[in-house]
């Protein structure tokens, strides 16, 4: 039964056991990349990403019956990812003292090798710039600018008023632009 439900028709009270497992695995298949990149964008260290993704879907499994369809399931999962990312960031901050260099795990599956490199570099830069946003701005910015989500839905996902979404987006964009200008200034200086 639950194996056939669509995006918005997940049962309020799924039968525990196989059907839930199936629908969670289905959700996993559908949203793995979204969760993975969202966690990354929310600041989870590359080395922690696999564990963090697991945690997100374990929580999804546990909470599936409380999903009320107020946002899309994708948005709902993002809400869970925010909380997971927070715990991993705390953990990562402590651990970074011991790990000098983290391997980048961003890969590119589009275009020529040159393009791939350029995209990967862009992703790294965005990552760096996102670090400058505070948590609230960051979540809004990621959803709006990188997931193309509209403000009203972001408001539902994050449980904040739509006006707050707009103001955080405005601040987030400004911070992002500032960071980008600084990055370019640094590059200009370096290549002068």
């Amino acid at each position: 039964m639950a194996a056939h439900v669509g995006l918005m028709q997940l049962p309020r009270e799924p039968v525990l056991g196989e059907s839930v497992t199936e629908s969670v695995v289905e959700l996993y298949e559908r949203h793995f990349h979204f969760v993975w990149r969202s966690l990354r964008r929310l600041g989870v260290a590359p080395t922690d990403l696999d564990d963090a993704v697991q945690d997100v879907f374990v929580v999804v499994h546990r909470r599936l019956e409380t999903f009320e369809g107020r946002s899309t399931i994708k948005g709902w999962i993002f809400g869970i990812a925010i909380r997971i990312a927070k715990t991993y960031r705390r953990r990562g901050a402590r651990r970074r003292l011991n790990i000098a260099q983290e391997d980048s795990v961003l890969v590119c599956t589009h275009g020529t090798p040159e393009e791939a490199r350029a995209y990967a570099q862009a992703a790294e830069q965005v990552q760096e710039l996102l670090e400058e946003l505070d948590d609230g701005q960051r979540a809004v910015f990621v959803l709006a600018e990188l997931e193309d989500m509209q403000a009203p839905e972001i408001a539902v996902v994050l449980g904040i008023p739509t006006n707050t979404v707009y103001s955080r987006l405005r601040l987030g964009r400004a911070a992002f632009e500032r960071g980008l200008r600084r990055l370019h200034a640094k590059d200009d200086w370096r290549y002068r």
Partner: protein
């Protein structure tokens, strides 16, 4: 609102095209997740048919709607219980459920990745918590819930399973690290105690949870359990205090109606609250 400049926009567009995980991660993660969830499903059935338990507690609600609600909360948390059991506890205590040894062993070996999140408990680092937990879990309940006996009798097959299970050893590998596995393990203690009507023990377990996971992922669920437990002990004032705290922290929580229903049950005559509490269970 001022839009992003063209440089920023281009950067974001390029980044979007690169930001995906290697497919190997997808497959590996799927297997791992399925192992975890399958383990959860096994332990779910080990904990007993949900319908049977809730049906039984439904009968008990004529005398105690509050405990009935506490039991229906179990529906929400039953997977947390099972995940906790599957993720770490089995590894911690090999002499596990008497009824399910072979299946659980299979699960443990299948889910090799659970070692990553499982609470590791070197003998010296438990800080005396494990013995405490053991004592509490095996000693008779300090305070019995008003209708604990009814529940226990009605749901005896299920409760037998959980009471014969080994005490949950709760430990974290470092004092600050919390993981879902540790949290679910601790909340499994709570649910076991609540289910068998040992409400005071459930509160002790909740204290352990908040002590070990002060910023836990499952704090929301833990707070609900606490409210329900306090209601069950007829500590209406404390329950209301925690319910207010819950409202303050999680104003949009889907669990909010349950919390509010529980507290109104504690404020009024228990019998009057029965219909509201029964409602959630009818469609299970």
């Amino acid at each position: 609102m001022k839009d992003l400049g063209s440089n920023a926009r281009e950067l974001l567009n390029n980044a979007k095209r690169a930001d995906s995980a290697p497919d190997a991660h997808l497959g590996r993660g799927r297997n791992r997740l399925m192992a975890t969830l399958a383990a959860g499903a096994v332990t779910t059935s080990a904990l007993g048919a949900k319908g049977a338990l809730l049906g039984a507690s439904g009968a008990a609600t004529t005398t105690s709607p509050v405990v009935g609600t506490a039991t229906s909360l179990m529906t929400t948390l039953v997977s947390a219980v099972t995940i906790g059991l599957s993720a770490g506890l089995i590894a911690v205590s090999p002499a596990t459920r008497s009824g399910e040894p072979s299946r659980l062993e299979g699960v443990t070996s299948a889910d090799d990745t659970s070692a990553n999140v499982a609470p590791r408990s070197p003998a010296g680092t438990n800080q005396g918590r494990a013995p405490t937990a053991a004592t509490q879990a095996t000693s008779p309940p300090p305070v019995a819930a008003p209708t604990g006996t009814t529940l226990t009798t009605a749901a005896s097959p299920v409760v037998m399973t959980s009471t014969t299970a080994p005490p949950v050893v709760s430990a974290t590998d470092t004092p600050t690290r919390t993981s879902i596995a540790v949290e679910t393990a601790l909340l499994a203690d709570v649910q076991r105690a609540l289910k068998s009507g040992r409400v005071a023990m459930a509160l002790d377990a909740l204290d352990r949870y908040t002590e070990q996971c002060p910023r836990g992922m499952l704090l929301e669920e833990a707070t609900v359990s606490r409210v329900l437990a306090l209601c069950a002990l007829e500590r209406a004032q404390d329950a209301r205090r925690w319910a207010d705290e819950f409202l303050r922290r999680y104003p949009t929580s889907p669990l909010l109606p349950r919390v509010q229903a529980a507290c109104s049950g504690a404020n009024q005559q228990p019998a009057e609250a029965a219909p509201a509490n029964n409602r959630g269970r009818d469609d299970l």
